[in-house]
């Protein structure tokens, strides 16, 4: 199941993606380990944090379709949406290029 995009817009991709340190940590974790598929608690463990600390950020990234979620057994798990991730990287690259052009 893929959620509809919400607040993370291409017009300001960096600001939205990095709106919290937890989101930045999550993005780095999933970029370095694109095969990560786990519950919120499992993901938090990889970051040395508690699930309750990152739950809302995970949910926002899923809302923006950067993460996908599905049910495994009795658990809800999250994993990287590789296609959306490639698009986001492209948006960020364009954004940074445009910033350079405005200087």
């Amino acid at each position: 199941m893929v959620d509809e995009p919400n607040s993370i817009r291409p017009s300001d991709p960096l600001g939205a993606l990095l709106s919290s340190s937890n989101k930045a940590d999550l993005l780095v974790l999933f970029h370095r380990n694109p095969g990560l598929i786990d519950t919120v608690e499992g993901i938090a463990r990889r970051l040395g944090k508690k699930g309750s600390v990152i739950a809302s950020d995970v949910s926002e990234l899923a809302g923006a379709s950067i993460l996908q979620r599905k049910v495994v057994g009795k658990s809800e798990v999250y994993f990287l949406n590789r296609e959306k991730d490639r698009e986001s990287q492209k948006d960020i690259a364009e954004y940074i290029t445009n910033l350079g052009g405005k200087r």
Binding site: N33, G35, D38, R46, V71, G73
Partner: protein, 265 residues
């Protein structure tokens, strides 16, 4: 009928020629193999070599399922052998799946968890790193049943499975699969171990069990080189290698004595 049973006599080569010779051509297709050894014996290296060989020489997609080790470390370590795992993932030949054991065991669901990666790479080989970690997440009474369920799922999907088992002891009688009663679940067992010879640590491998096939019974020395595992000649003239502290055989001691005596003359 599963893919595995249709090709029951086919072999799955590891890509390590001398090791394949020990296995009389490779593992049996669709089998579950336990690869046991303590830290530093090269289990991950051998397992990756097995997956990479499947991809590059047999066109068989592979999955590396890890519970503890972060994939970015696996990418980095593999690069030191010249293996670009990220490129293989981008080409949909390999997936490194990083997850928690409880999503496979108990109330978990292997099919839901692995459906996407199995389909994406048309997986025919899977490495589970590690079975020891997986078994920790099952209740004591359920270890056999839960592990049996997971192993059978891989077989049903037609995948040849390599299950890594972390032995706690570095030297000595480190192989204790029977203690946890999991050896009956697997079709073959390969043990990697350190042995102390002449005050230096060397590595030895042995095929302890291989259902439905003959195999080399000797302990073979192996090395971890810049390009992966290389299996050398069998250890000769030593007894008690499985204990980790072998002694020279009487014939070898006799030769030593004669050589020493000749030098003294």
């Amino acid at each position: 009928m599963s893919e595995a049973s249709k090709t029951s006599n086919a072999r799955v080569k590891t890509g390590i020629p001398e090791f394949d010779a020990m296995l009389r051509g490779g593992f049996m297709k669709g089998d579950a193999v336990m690869l046991a050894g303590s830290a530093g014996t090269g289990k991950t290296t051998l397992a990756l070599q097995y997956l990479i060989n499947g991809i590059t020489t047999a066109g068989e997609g592979g999955i590396y399922l890890t519970f503890e080790q972060h994939p970015d470390q696996i990418y980095r370590d593999a690069k030191s052998f010249g293996w670009d795992l990220q490129k293989m993932e981008a080409e949909d030949k390999l997936r490194i799946v990083f997850t928690s054991p409880d999503l496979l065991m108990g109330e978990g669901d292997p099919e839901a968890l692995l459906e996407e990666p199995i389909g994406a790479v048309n997986a025919r080989r899977i490495v589970v790193d590690s079975l020891s970690h997986l078994s920790m997440f099952a209740k004591n009474d359920d270890i056999r049943q839960e592990t049996y369920r997971v192993v059978n799922f891989f077989k049903l999907k037609g995948m040849s499975t390599l299950l890594i088992w972390e032995s706690p002891q570095v030297l000595g009688q480190s192989f204790s699969i029977s203690d946890v009663g999991l050896s009956f679940l697997v079709d073959a067992i390969v043990s990697l171990k350190f042995v102390e010879i002449d005050s230096s640590i060397r590595r030895a491998m042995v095929v302890l069990k291989m259902r439905g096939s003959d195999h080399d019974k000797s302990l073979r020395e192996y090395e971890i080189t810049q390009t992966g595992i290389k299996v050398r000649a069998p250890f000769k003239d030593y007894q008690g290698l499985m204990t980790g502290s072998p002694t020279r055989s009487s014939s070898e001691r006799f030769v030593d004595l004669m050589t020493k005596a000749a030098k003294e003359k």
